[in-house]
């Protein structure tokens, strides 16, 4: 590597810290100046556009208890401390533990960079973060965002074909597919990140001095078509496995899901500040069905069970056709006080499946039970004769009653499934499954 890298590095370091607080000039005597600049230096690649420009809005997101100014506008230590607390809180990958695993990982990466862990690396010896922009350089950016690559390799410069030194970092997922292929090339003594893979691979593009992706890895400032062709032929010899050439053409195996920079709702930008995990998780949270709503503002008297309504389900055959009833004690049900009464609303669903034809008939009813306030105190019993109850099953064309449905069943053996559930508390009787014979 050439030694004139020191000049741009010096310029970058000199001006880098001064520019840290984009958007708002802060007096160096302000107590927030140093912590904010340090934060920008260490974690700047993780601050999202929204965090820089909009801050945290309690109105738009219930996760935030109070609104906090955008990072770029912060000019007090108190505001910065609040920002920093939320910043890490919403990035904690495992909310089940007291430590912040994400911050631990990033801090470890910062430490790795400062300790130049790749300088003595067997695959890419001499790789220095410090020489390549330090914590604000592109190499550090990739390392901070994604950690150590799954695979890395180095191709020394080739003066014959005028090709710069190349380093690749591959990130490979559990399926063995390439998530990201980062290619670094030497330019003026510093390793630059190659950011313009040519998605259309053709020799016409490859050897076009105006649009070829090879221009960037050429030692020549303005390579000719012939020089590009020689560079490619040199690569053909130096890189028979296409380890260094593939990133020139394709950044990832997941081209529909991932881009290098500038992601959007559909695509991840590999170099974009990652969306805080707590905010991303809102979109990925599971859908949970069938849970009781908030009953705290309603006046309920619950039974002694947490999930269960003990009920007898009785099938009688007084006239040959089955007659159904349910029976339970008042205290087995959940009741809501409504004015001077108590109300319990249950849904009852029954299905009759013919064992031979497998044809199904459905019955559904919402049973609203209303009793006097002292009914349970008097150890009242609830008996509901179901055959007279109207059928509200949407599948049944002719509604009628349960008795009508039973009468319309063809003779045969049926599997009867019954499900009884409290509408509000979601407690259920569990259900019944019986075989009945219709004559």
């Amino acid at each position: 590597m050439k030694k004139y890298y020191l000049i741009p590095l010096f310029i970058l370091v000199f001006f880098g810290t001064g520019c840290a607080s984009k958007g708002l000039k802060i007096d160096p005597t302000n107590p927030v100046f140093t912590p904010k600049n340090d934060f920008e230096m260490n974690y700047g690649f993780f601050i999202t556009e929204d965090e820089r420009k909009k801050g945290y809005s309690a109105e738009n997101n219930s996760k935030f208890q109070e609104s906090i100014s955008p990072f770029n506008q912060i000019n007090t230590l108190e505001e910065f401390n609040k920002f920093e607390k939320i910043f890490w809180q919403i990035r904690d990958t495992d909310p089940n533990t007291p430590q912040n695993e994400y911050k631990d990982i990033i801090d470890q990466r910062i430490s790795d960079i400062k300790n130049e862990i790749f300088f003595t690396d067997i695959d890419t010896p001499g790789t220095s973060f410090k020489r390549n922009g330090g914590l604000r350089g592109e190499m550090a950016r990739v390392y901070l965002l994604h950690g150590a690559p799954s695979f890395k390799d180095r191709l020394p410069e080739n003066h014959t074909s005028n090709r710069s030194e190349l380093i690749v970092w591959y990130y490979i997922d559990v399926q063995g597919r390439h998530l990201f292929r980062f290619l670094f090339y030497e330019k003026y003594g510093k390793m630059e990140l190659f950011k313009n893979p040519s998605t259309l691979f053709s020799y016409e593009i490859l050897f076009n001095p105006l649009s070829s992706p090879l221009r960037e890895i050429s030692m020549k400032a303005f390579p000719t078509s012939q020089e590009l062709m020689e560079l490619w032929m040199g690569l053909d010899r130096d890189d028979p496995q296409w380890i260094f050439r593939t990133p020139l053409i394709e950044f990832t195996d997941y081209t529909t899901d991932i881009v290098m920079e500038g992601g959007d709702d559909k695509k991840i930008g590999a170099l974009d500040p990652p969306e805080p995990v707590a905010l991303a998780a809102v979109r990925y949270k599971p859908t949970i069905l069938g849970q009781p709503g908030d009953l705290s503002n309603r006046n309920f008297v619950f039974n002694l069970q947490h999930s269960f309504i003990p009920v007898y389900f009785r099938i009688g055959y007084p006239t040959g056709k089955p007659v159904f009833s349910i029976l339970t004690s008042c205290s087995n049900l959940d009741w809501e006080h409504v004015e001077d009464k108590m109300k319990s609303v249950l849904t009852l669903r029954m299905s009759f499946q013919n064992k031979t034809t497998r044809a199904i008939r459905e019955y559904f009813v919402r049973l609203t039970l209303t009793v006097a306030k002292d009914f349970c105190d008097q150890k009242g019993t609830v008996v509901i004769y179901l055959n007279e109850q109207e059928n509200f099953a949407p599948q049944e064309k002719n509604r009628g009653t349960l008795g009508d449905l039973v009468n319309s069943l063809e003779s045969g053996i049926y599997v009867l499934n019954v499900d009884l559930q409290h509408v509000d508390t979601k407690k259920s009787a569990g259900g019944w499954r019986e075989e009945i014979t219709i004559k």
């Binding site: 990958t93 495992d94 909310p95 089940n96 997922d173 998530l179 997941y254 899901d257 991932i258 709702d265 559909k266 695509k267 991840i268 990652p274 969306e275 995990v277 707590a278 991303a280 998780a281 979109r283 990925y284 949270k285 599971p286 859908t287 949970i288 069905l289 069938g290 849970q291 009781p292 069970q305 947490h306 999930s307 269960f308 003990p310 009920v311 007898y312 389900f313 009688g316 007084p318 006239t319 009833s325 029976l327 339970t328 669903r349 299905s351 499946q353 497998r358 199904i360 019993t381 008996v383 499934n417 499900d419 559930q421 979601k426 259920s428 009787a429 569990g430 259900g431 019944w432 499954r433």
Partner: protein
């Protein structure tokens, strides 16, 4: 004859409440809370790769005073149908990083539900050394069973088989459209079913097919 039968049915239903609800000698199930928990698993119905219904828990205990004595307690809670099927966009990276968060939502709810459960089956047994297998796995003595069928009244039995059946239900007119909807625990002619409501399972399947 019909009139006679109707009258019989009428009178039987008048007296039935007492026959059904009045227990002369109620069975009181044991309490194993002072025993050591050796294993807890969830009663789960897998609807698809990313949708499940959690219905209860099975917990195994060991008597701290007699390490050869064990108990299993089956409990139910309000069914928790969970659909984790999401769009494939960004799935490879984001879904992995958010999985702990989504798991936490799920785990928090399941923990809450499990803490408010109703036990309906207790089985207690002893084992002794088995020279054939060289393990402590030979049944010894009676197997005691306390069981609470859907009517809510506990019964006690000895050395009887508890049958466990998966329940399926047809969720459409098509003959083959059967899905798992619950589990039935049966002792003789008595049973207790833990199940998910039909509406929830249909929703779960619909959402799964839309989003996965």
């Amino acid at each position: 004859v019909n009139r006679f039968l109707l009258a019989f049915f009428f009178f039987s239903t008048i007296f039935y409440p007492c026959l059904a609800l009045c227990q002369t000698n109620p069975v009181i199930p044991p309490n194993f809370s002072s025993w050591n928990t050796i294993n807890t698993s969830r009663i789960e119905l897998r609807v698809s790769d990313c949708a499940s219904v959690y219905l209860g828990t099975e917990t195994d205990y060991m008597n701290p005073d007699d390490p050869m004595e064990f108990a299993r307690v089956i409990s139910r809670h309000i069914a928790v149908p969970i659909n984790k099927c999401k769009e494939h966009n960004k799935k490879s990276v984001v879904a992995v990083s958010t999985s702990l968060y989504t798991q936490k939502v799920e785990q928090d709810l399941l923990t809450e539900r499990s803490s408010k459960n109703d036990s309906f089956l207790f089985v207690r047994w002893r084992v002794e050394y088995n020279s054939r297998t060289e393990h402590d796995d030979k049944p010894s003595g009676d197997v005691d069973i306390w069981f609470r069928p859907s009517d809510g009244n506990w019964i006690f039995r000895k050395n009887i088989k508890v049958e466990v059946e998966s329940l399926t239900e047809n969720i459409g007119d098509a003959k083959s459209n059967n899905v798992f909807s619950g589990v039935m625990y049966r002792i003789g002619g008595l049973y207790h079913i833990v199940r998910v409501s039909r509406d929830n399972i249909i929703d779960l399947i619909k959402k799964g097919s839309k989003e996965s």
